[in-house]
Symmetry: C2
Subunit: 321 residues, 2 copies
Amino acid sequence: MPSSSAPGKVYLFGEHAVVYGEPAVPCAIDRRITVSCTKSNDNLISIQAPQIGTNDFSIEFSESSLKSNLSKVEPHLHYILTAIGLSLNFSETTFNGLEIVVESDIPLGAGLGSSAAVSVATVDAVSRTCDVIHPLEQIATLAHEVEQTVQGRASRADTFCSTMGGFVCVEGKKCNKLPFSQLPLTIGYDGGFGSTKELVSMVRTNKENYEFIESIITSIGRISKLGMVALENQNLATIGDLMNINHGLLSSLGVSSNSLDEMVWAARNSGAFGAKLTGAGGSGCIVALDPDMSSIPSLLSTDSCKSAFSVDISEKGLIRK
Amino acid sequence: MPSSSAPGKVYLFGEHAVVYGEPAVPCAIDRRITVSCTKSNDNLISIQAPQIGTNDFSIEFSESSLKSNLSKVEPHLHYILTAIGLSLNFSETTFNGLEIVVESDIPLGAGLGSSAAVSVATVDAVSRTCDVIHPLEQIATLAHEVEQTVQGRASRADTFCSTMGGFVCVEGKKCNKLPFSQLPLTIGYDGGFGSTKELVSMVRTNKENYEFIESIITSIGRISKLGMVALENQNLATIGDLMNINHGLLSSLGVSSNSLDEMVWAARNSGAFGAKLTGAGGSGCIVALDPDMSSIPSLLSTDSCKSAFSVDISEKGLIRK
């Protein structure tokens, strides 16, 4: 039974600006979504995904059934069904059922790349079940297509990072893996989630209303460029500074929240070099550059923080078993 | 006995950026510092200023004594002594003592313009005690000189606004009164204060380190321009949006704090059109655009907020009695 796992990610720099072609620097973390897939003969697509709230979901095994059910399911199932439909297009084998099990230790919609990870892992696991082995670049492209279908607009950053692992730079259509390995990161999670689609759309509306938002987005791109130099030099003070500035600019775009700001301050005030929200925002996670992990008790002492943990960078992206 | 009072202010838009020549829009509020001054014959300058922590302060009445004591006194007394020294330069009358009483209902160093108000009121009261009546423009200029002496660098905005009252636009050396009258504002105060000098200096260092800070400052200036259009149209939704964006950009400059952010969110989440820190930041006050004052209980329910109150715009600046 093919099993594919793909890591979550945090954005060190550049979320939202990346949607407009600015460079961004996400990195994969050692939290994963694993999708296992097997053929069946019951004319059904059955999905068990307890951590994303889906037990014993099943629909008829047909293209029309996949399409007609898309609008009725919760967001993460939307990614899974879209990824299944897309992957089956490449299949030349004949079979009439799929059993899929999804396991996740990534909080959903919280800025840690759960949608990219589930898209990457599902595309790969379903493809391999159909005896199709896509090269990694193709997996990233197909998973990006899944995100675009579900979200309307998505950057290539998340799915590329989840497929390739480690640090990546994404700028427009160019995606490159960066030669850095570790960075001491702590995550704070407020227990909530933001809608990437709605937040991306809100920034677009702001950008249409106020022409100077363009230069804020350009400044975020500039932070990503300087951030890559600081990463190369392992200059933690500058990386932290740039994360703090990036967080302020994200706030000015309207995508922070009371709980995200409270966690960012808890991390900074306990000695982190810098802290920012990660991902689309609205609610979810912050990431702090925090070598001695002193921010964990500080984060947990706030009203906002529901869990806090350190993460390692995952050098590996997609893992096939 | 001449008595001069000058109002505090809030910044609707543009603090910090104004230091670099960008436009800013402060407005005077109905909280004042009153300075009363009378001649005496005891060869002393005596100052009573209970709300700024100065009871029965006195030094020898001489230029050298004024200068040598400057570095030893707490910040607001520094403004007062500097204003006295500057005002005495214009005096042609002979006398050998001054008794000064300062009364204030503006929190100190909290972003409500206490230093500008005390500078304006002291320059005017001492000058009039010396039988010198400066035109308002000259009072604003002299009070600005006081702020520059004490802070190292200061914009003309605060002292011009405190002298003239109402809404003003300050851009470089150009200061204009704006034809707007009221706006429903609420203030939240965390009980702390920030050092304008240190915060202005920190932004300058950031600007020297990261060239893109320049474009953040330009964006704040752009917000001030759009803010004036929105004020003219009494478009509260847009004014609030721009305040929110302005706060995010101030955060990216590093001048917000945990308590300021918490108060800003309390105001926004209780229905304010927008909220931002006002003044140099670090600690102190936020200002919210809040027609129904619903943010007051919400502010007071936070750990950060020590007092919250609505303010009227003060159409009058310097008042002479």
